[in-house]
Assembly symmetry: C2
Homo-oligomer: 584 residues x 2
């Protein structure tokens, strides 16, 4: 039991040796991350179509739970851009943004996603995330970044616009562009410009002034807080609210409330697919960040336990007024760079955010939504990177196809269609490729016992014997191709008496492939041809011995290909070049 506890509660490991020095590092990191998270959390809630405070709530309890159950020392959990967009897409299908049902759906979505992540973790099904190939994720994130940035333009322009894909969004923006609010646009444009400059230009400027690089970095990261503070002041001073600038308005002051997911079978069914997509996308992003950071200090994370950690965080979000969360890239890097030594840094961050939620929320009344939108736009545009298209085009057209279709479908039909397409296209391409394994007809290299591809080498063959080497494990996706290929080769050789399947590269044979071998055996037998195998690997042979395939086999299984040919040709052929006819 203590063994199990230690496994599922990583806090029991690092918590026992927690010391003052670690606490100091963690505390410093927490202060910096808290400053960064306040505007980010508000902004992502806005992106999800939810009240601003839900972004803060989603960063408190989930961080605490991740600190207990997670294995990464530096991962910072909370709302992130892509998952917020996916949340909007998912709950937008079943409720109207702004309604109580919409909020309830977001909470329920976090709950379902949390349950699924925990179930995947307990069942050790983390490998499911492998369905999302790297290029598909890269394409998906780029396309999501474009959709997010476009969706936020409405807040910057001060016009209403809706849509879950680029086409709807762009159309909606154009339709309403006449109603642009100049004050909103001014706030939004200046904020965006300021944030872009902070991102690129502030750090060099500060270091130029002699400020240490590390501190300059932290100050640059605090840029969004500066933009938030300045635009709050401007909105208050110029009374921008009365001039049509949308403000965040009343934000409840206090700790996260206790909320409950909706226990409705219909709603669960409606959200299940989206919850699964969000879980997988969130997990994949999070694990990738966690691994990158762990590697820098030669630490390990445990992907299956990460599922449990993220699952607990999401269940926590559901019971504390939040919405789906995952490990964020930017905030985790800041946490790591600021020196976070243990997940306790996350716990301190949660305390910081709880303090902000208790005290700072009244100040947010005058915060223009355009400022938050600018924060999001600047953040997500750094995710947009089309280089994956060029990279895959050069490296592998199959991967290019997967990325290009993911990007196009995401932009054209939204995030859920996009990521689903990416997964399906990758799997299809993989099955297509492995359904046509490399096969070679082989012959004897004169004077040796080597057998090589007749197309590449000058080798000796025998018109009565056909040897086919397959360079891949045999399973259902390529079993029929093998059948086809062997029948095809056999039907073109009228004098054929023996077919040998040379199997040194076959690591496994599944039931489908076994049945294909049985069919090949029977069908060749019907045509008067004997079927043999050579160089079958030990584990494959062990498995074949459990069946009656070896009894039914019309021919033999030879240890070596040379032995097979020597015996079947009815004469020893060592160095027998003189007696055979070479094939060019």
């Amino acid at each position: 039991m203590p063994e199990l506890l230690r496994r599922y509660l990583p806090i029991l490991q690092w918590g026992r040796t927690y010391d003052r020095q670690q606490a100091g590092s963690d505390l410093l990191a927490a202060v910096i991350v808290t400053i960064m998270l306040v505007p980010q959390s508000l902004a992502y809630a806005l992106l999800a179509g939810l009240p601003a405070e839900m972004g803060i709530y989603a960063s408190i309890v989930p961080i605490l739970l991740y600190a207990v159950f997670g294995t990464s020392k530096a991962l910072a959990v909370g709302p992130v851009a892509v998952v917020s967009l996916m949340t909007a897409a998912a709950i937008g299908k079943i409720a109207v943004p702004g309604s109580a049902e919409y909020i309830a759906a977001a909470i329920t979505l976090a709950f379902l996603s949390g349950l699924m992540l925990m179930a995947l973790g307990l069942l050790q099904l983390g490998f499911l995330a492998n369905f999302l190939s790297h290029p598909v994720i890269a394409g998906f994130i780029t396309a999501s970044g474009i959709i997010i940035a476009t969706s936020q333009l409405k807040h910057v322009l001060g016009v209403p616009a809706e849509g879950h894909n680029l086409y709807e969004l762009a159309g909606s923006l154009l339709t309403h562009s006449g109603g642009l609010n100049p004050h909103t646009f001014l706030i939004g444009a200046i904020s965006a410009g300021f944030l872009f400059w902070v991102r690129k230009g502030l750090k060099p400027l500060l270091t130029g002034w002699g400020i240490p690089a590390r501190l300059a970095d932290v100050m640059a990261k605090a840029g969004p807080v500066g933009a938030v503070a300045l635009t709050i002041l401007a909105a208050w001073w110029f009374d921008l609210g009365s001039k049509g600038v949308a403000l965040v308005g009343d934000v409840p002051q206090g700790l996260p409330p206790l909320t409950m997911p909706v226990f409705s079978f219909d709603m669960w069914l409606a959200l299940a697919g989206s919850a699964m997509l969000i879980s997988v996308i969130g997990f994949v992003e999070s694990v990738s960040v966690a691994q990158t950071l762990a590697a820098r200090r030669r630490q390990r994370i445990d992907p299956d336990q990460e599922l449990i950690g993220l699952g607990a965080a999401n269940v926590g979000a559901a019971f504390s007024g939040g919405y789906p969360v995952t490990g964020g890239f930017a905030r985790s890097v800041v946490n790591f760079d600021a020196g976070a030594a243990t997940p306790a840094a996350g716990a301190f961050t949660a305390v910081g955010l709880a303090f902000a939620s208790l005290t700072l929320t009244p100040l947010l009344y005058f915060l223009p939504k355009a400022t938050l939108a600018a924060t999001i736009i600047v953040a997500v545009l750094s995710l947009v990177d089309f280089s994956i298209l060029k990279k895959t085009w050069i490296y592998s057209k199959a991967d290019f196809l997967a990325v290009a279709s993911t990007i196009l479908i995401t932009l054209g039909f939204g995030v859920e269609a996009g990521v689903t397409t990416g997964v399906l296209v990758s799997i299809l391409i993989h099955l297509y490729k492995s359904s046509r394994p490399h096969m070679a007809v082989v012959g004897q290299v004169p004077g040796t016992e080597y057998y090589r591809n007749v197309l590449r080498h000058k080798v000796i063959t025998d018109e009565h014997i056909l040897t086919v080497r397959v360079d891949e494990s045999l399973y259902f996706a390529n079993a029929r191709y093998l059948e086809d290929a062997i029948y095809d080769l056999a039907s073109r050789r009228p004098k054929l008496k023996h077919v040998i399947l040379m199997a040194p590269a076959i690591n496994a044979i599944d039931m489908s492939a076994l049945e294909s071998l049985e069919a090949i055996n029977e069908r060749l037998k019907a045509g008067g041809v004997t079927f043999h195998m050579s160089e079958v690997k030990g584990p494959v042979m062990d498995r074949l011995k459990r069946t009656d395939f070896l009894d039914e086999l019309t021919g033999k299984v030879f240890l070596s290909q040379h032995q097979a040919v020597s015996e079947l040709a009815g004469k020893p052929r060592r160095g027998g070049a003189a007696k055979s006819k070479p094939v060019g």
Copy 2:
């Protein structure tokens, strides 16, 4: 153009050399198959919930079109049991059996299925059928056979009962069992008993009487015709219709009518999934039969052209009052055994069935539905074979899981859920297995240049060098596992300076795996460890050269593993057993 024509119209090849002798063989085969097909076609139409004549219609034009476009010399196309059941399941979702909409839906389903098959053929996407593994098909057909037999019990018992899965059917039968009609039951039970006996006992009896084996076989195959004729006589003589025995009733006399599919987007959308499943199942069954028969005469079939042939047959069915068709096992074997030499045998069969449709239909008025149901039950019970469960249990638990879930879901939730589950489970299992490739840490076999698994051999290792050999191509499903495994191994070796990935068994590296290698390289670098590769295959190396991976690689790519270790250990190690420490 003639090249293309020859490819897509196989009739142009065999048609040119068609002679009198072939015509004689084909004609004899056609007579025998026609006799067999009349009751079978009526029965399968009943199974699909359609008017009996649609079964005959579905056997006329489709056979003619397959003769033009198909590549198998002996395949007999028409309604078959499993596809009829799937048709009932598909159109039962959108229309009430017996209604005009139901018939229109069946015709539209054939049309859609035909279009899909032709599209798959033209795009050479026949490999999609590989998604259906052999064991999944075996399980699916067994479960379908049970559902079909159960669904026909209502006709034998003379009670109403409905359902698309075993649970619904059994429940419905039990509910209505009080209303059993004794006359119907008598007809059904005697027919079934007679047919079982014909199948097993008639041929030995006839040969015992000195009748040649071949003729006895044909007479046994005509058993269903005997049952049909005798029960028609009995129904007429005893006026069973007035005693509550359901009769086939009026069947229109004449050639197949010209019908049109419904061009409704909603209906197409509703039927698209079912049409795809029916196409794939039909194609897979048909190709397997065609290949078995072709192999006996050392002939070839072309799976992509088969898609076009079956597609044309289904489109033909849609325009001539039929419903989805495919190549049937029993009738194709009879056709083959009766000596069919070319697809012209099919054309003659079509003429025979057209003649039957023109002249014999009035006789069917008195045919009890119980007889047809008995025909179906006896036919499909021969499909039921649970041995695949035992076979897979012994051979591979993964395949067993796929089969068992296919059978259970088919029985419990119907054919469409069953086959979908089978496909998904197989793909999941495959991805799961290939997501954990065999990997070994290797060391030098003392006194040699061989490097073997440290767990299996007594080899020399170096605490500064970790060599990992992966026995599988690297792609998205195993890329992250490789990362995990390497980080894990590296983190347990504090003195590590070099990691070597030994790659002689890696046939391909996709973009995801390349990015994983890049991540491994970077993360090891962050921890002060150099990353190398050894024995990379030529084609893999060519592809890597197109990227900047080799420039970024902190270490080198070595031609041989021994060269790598010699250089990295900083000393020649040939036969260097004395200087190294062996690891048990």
